[in-house]
């Protein structure tokens, strides 16, 4: 059974999501109302997947994501947020979140996303694909040392952003489903910062500092 922890400062939402997921056969091992509590509780609860809101009191979602990933490398973080603050979303992805879903997503989508995250897949919404494409373009203009996308990865991300499913992309590009997944995952992994120093520098540069 997939072990899930729900982090959200809004009690109605937090309890609602926890109940919905429990009804669908997922095990809710913990809930937390803010980022600092999430970081504290996670080592004891040992969730497979943390459902993380971004605009949290105490500690922002991106920073909480980084700390949880550091303490528990096997725990995956799926961002579930009503926030379309692009910087926040990119910050969480760079901090090690393996996917992003809007709160307006249907329950079926959410259950599917949690299951897939637990299985080690990246959960890519079209909106996130657009942000990641934009981020690589920005990095390209910054210098030759920054990570780049291969032409194939760019092609796959563009199709994700245009709403094609992994299956449809595989069909169109005559690739296996698995290969498409790999391209998506690689595009994310290259963007993720390798250590906390880098993350902190990035957070300060982008104004996503914890003191903000």
């Amino acid at each position: 059974m997939v072990r899930v922890m729900v982090v959200d400062d809004h009690p109605i939402w937090r309890e609602g999501v926890a109940r919905d997921l429990a009804e669908r056969g997922l095990e809710i091992v913990a809930t937390a109302p803010d980022g600092a509590a999430a970081v504290r509780i996670a080592p004891a609860a040992r969730p497979d997947v943390v459902l993380m809101d971004l605009q949290l009191p105490e500690l922002p979602g991106a920073e909480a994501t980084a700390r949880i990933r550091e303490a528990l490398p096997d725990t995956r973080v799926l961002v579930l947020s009503a926030s379309t603050e692009h910087g926040d979303v990119l910050g969480a992805v760079r901090a090690g979140a393996s996917g992003y879903l809007l709160k307006s997503a249907a329950l079926d989508e959410l259950v599917d996303a949690v299951t897939r995250t637990a299985a080690g897949h990246a959960v890519f919404s079209p909106g996130l694909a657009g942000l990641v494409l934009g981020e690589y373009r920005r990095l390209e203009s910054e210098g030759p040392d920054e990570p780049r996308l291969t032409p194939r990865e760019t092609e796959v991300l563009r199709l994700v952003a245009k709403g094609l499913t992994a299956r449809a992309i595989a069909e169109r590009l005559v690739l296996s489903h698995r290969t498409v997944e790999n391209h998506v995952q690689n595009s994310l992994r290259k963007l993720q910062l390798t250590n906390r120093v880098e993350l902190t520098r990035y957070a300060i540069e982008r104004g996503l500092d914890a003191d903000d």
């Binding site: 605009q55 910087g87 909106g127 996130l128 657009g130 494409l133 373009r137 563009r158």
Partner: protein
């Protein structure tokens, strides 16, 4: 306009005026001591200078507290009368010999006061009246008078312009402060909406999905939940896509599309704003609205709609895709041959007007996909 207090940004000018007035009064008293014995009517002269001293005190208090135009106009009249009294106090011979008028430089006071209260027009008018009064006393256009006239008019104009500038910048400061307050209020509202309303709307939608599994998908409760979901998206876009304009009249295309496109459309944009001239953004938004309306008409209301905005620095590319029935091959050419310009023609025309290109990929069962590219260079 009724004002009970002096304009706060003009207070330094009023203070300067009061200092000038007091110093000028001292000059008039020195003048009285020096020449008063020789005047035709020394007692009257003493009386006039006493009136000037009282008026200096009264008007100064008034300027510091109110700084209103009526006081400056009364000041002009009082000062003119005091200056004209020279005709009675001094003998015609003394005046003709070029002795100073009884008010001396004190007579410039109302010129400066009018300039501060009413701007450069007030300063100029005050200068003209004061020069007229001096001429009425002297009755001759000698170098002294021309020199005084020059100083009075220049002082009135210069101080008036300074007062105008200070008033304008105070106005701008007030507007900026008000705007800042409005923005802060808007941000506070956005946070409240984000924390409460959005979460509940999303949850209503979530519950509706669950309900739809047990009851008829057309049940009113399911419909309500669907509407709540759409409103959540619309509201979220409204509060997060701040329509703040970029530099040089540019606008963020992504923020613009967030409000221009229907809420059910998925919008993928870079994190950095995609800034283009406002006219280009308007035109692109119109093209995409047209494409979205067309997709709704042909692909059906249930079809998905996705928009991707990319910016590689040299050009901006916008893709619009639906997963509807698609357009059969040759259908568009057929329509064009029949003389129907149609949606495709209209969209193409607009994009080409921007110096861009538009391509359509479609096949039956595969939906339609428009790709619009607009070069930056033409609109730099």
């Amino acid at each position: 306009m009724r004002r009970d207090r002096a304009h706060p940004h003009l207070v330094p000018l009023w203070r300067g005026l009061v200092v000038y007035r007091v110093v000028a009064l001292v000059a008039a008293i020195v003048n009285l001591v020096r020449y008063g014995d020789g005047w035709a009517r020394p007692v009257l002269g003493l009386l006039v200078v006493a009136v000037m001293a009282v008026w200096t005190a009264l008007s100064s208090l008034r300027y510091l507290h109110r700084g209103d135009p009526p006081t400056a106009i009364v000041d002009l009249v009082v000062t003119a009368l005091a200056t004209l009294s020279t005709l009675l106090v001094e003998s015609p011979e003394q005046i003709a010999a070029g002795d100073p008028v009884i008010t001396t430089v004190w007579s410039a006071g109302p010129v400066l006061a009018l300039a501060v209260a009413l701007g450069w027009r007030g300063g100029l008018a005050g200068g003209v009246v004061t020069v007229g009064v001096l001429f009425a006393v002297r009755r001759t256009l000698d170098t002294d008078l021309l020199y005084d006239a020059q100083l009075l008019l220049v002082a009135g104009l210069a101080v008036g312009l300074a007062a105008d500038t200070m008033r304008r910048s105070a106005e701008q400061l007030r507007t900026a402060t008000a705007l800042e307050a409005a923005t802060a209020e808007r941000e506070r509202l956005a946070r409240d909406i984000h924390d409460g309303v959005l979460q509940v709307l999303a949850l209503v939608r979530r519950r509706g999905d669950e309900l739809a599994r047990h009851v008829d998908a057309d049940a009113p409760a399911v419909e309500i939940a669907r509407l709540a979901g759409e409103q959540e998206v619309a509201l979220r876009r409204l509060i997060t896509s701040a329509p703040t304009p970029g530099p040089d009249g540019t606008v963020d295309l992504g923020a613009r599309l967030a409000t221009a496109l229907p809420a059910r459309a998925s919008l993928a944009v870079p994190a950095e704003p995609v800034l283009l001239p406002a006219a280009v953004v308007d035109e692109l938004a119109a093209v995409l609205r047209e494409g979205a309306a067309n997709a709704r008409a042909h692909a059906g209301p249930g079809a998905g709609l996705w928009v991707l905005v990319e910016d590689d620095g040299a050009a901006v590319t916008v893709s619009l895709r639906d997963d509807g029935a698609g357009i059969p091959e040759g259908r568009l050419e057929e329509a064009a041959a029949e003389g129907h310009l149609g949606v495709a023609g209209s969209m193409r025309g607009r994009v080409e007007g921007l110096g861009g290109t538009i391509a359509l990929h479609t096949a039956p069962g595969e939906g339609t996909e428009w790709e619009i590219t607009v070069p930056r260079s033409r609109h730099a």
